[in-house]
Symmetry: C2
Subunit: 171 residues, 2 copies
């Protein structure tokens, strides 16, 4: 499976650029891990709480901030588009889990926060969610967890820096 052992690939790719298969493999493995966990969490949220992952994620953002949060803040934190947040919030408001109110200083803006009912609903799910993730990562020791965190910190820093560079060059 090592590309160094594959003369055909060598010959074809050596034309213009060096080989970056190791980076590619890392990215694919990262994606696999995330997709596996995400799919399982989604399945359990649906089955046990009849709830979807995006709604859970949005409520998770709101949970820590009692005073409320603007839609833009939610959008940045969740790393999803603004239009997405608009419709997601619409549905959560309709379900009675989230409340909107105008922002004090900015008439373009509004603050959203969990309703009392939303807070209870989320609390139940969050407890289960934490157990699920622990169950999925149960074979990792405390040291494994710490070491993997550090590795991923490096990944995150590298990616963030590269994106910042790309954004700067785009102008």
């Amino acid at each position: 499976m090592n590309d160094q052992d594959n003369p055909r690939l060598d010959a074809e790719t050596k034309v213009a650029e060096v080989d970056h298969k190791a980076e590619l493999r890392l990215w694919l493995r990262l994606l696999t891990c995330t997709t596996l966990i995400e799919a399982e969490v989604r399945r359990r949220l649906r089955r046990r709480f009849d709830e979807t992952l995006p709604r859970f994620d949005l409520m998770a953002q709101l949970e820590r901030v009692d005073t409320g949060m603007t839609l833009g803040e939610v959008s940045r934190r969740m790393m999803v588009s603004a239009g997405n947040v608009t419709s997601l919030v619409d549905r959560l408001v309709k379900a009675g889990y989230v409340e909107r109110r105008p922002a004090p200083n900015d008439r373009r803006s509004q603050l959203i926060r969990l309703s009392h009912r939303g807070r209870e609903h989320f609390g139940r799910m969050a407890a289960a969610h934490e157990q699920w993730v622990a169950e999925l990562l149960a074979d990792l020791s405390e040291r494994d967890l710490a070491a993997t965190m550090e590795r991923l910190a490096k990944v995150k820093d590298s990616v963030s820096a590269a994106i910042a560079r790309a954004g700067r060059e785009e102008k």
Copy 2:
């Protein structure tokens, strides 16, 4: 930020279950890394090739297998639902990048593969894609890459095993 330092959380969670914040944090970091990379790749695919990530991913699955692949195989490899693959393939067939033909032994099934045009199209994107990922992970040394791969192998194994257990218990 350490939960051991937070007496309120301690008091509330100690009722029934131990603390699993380390696992939760790891999951969130994993998700952040993946989301960052994914969003940037998506942006570049769109900008430079007017192409979407799911279409790219599907073509990537088809690329290695010249003889063709069933929809079910694609669905399992991409870890997405079967219905999703159906519509994705429909669009790629319409675009002329993918061909369908009946499977030889099974009349329920069909084999899909890249058309000549699809192969060329994908080849161009794949080369750029590999460069992009390498750029995003540029701050990781060869040793970093290898070590992170190993860490993620453990994560993947743990998650897979837990999902298998859960599936077995579900019956």
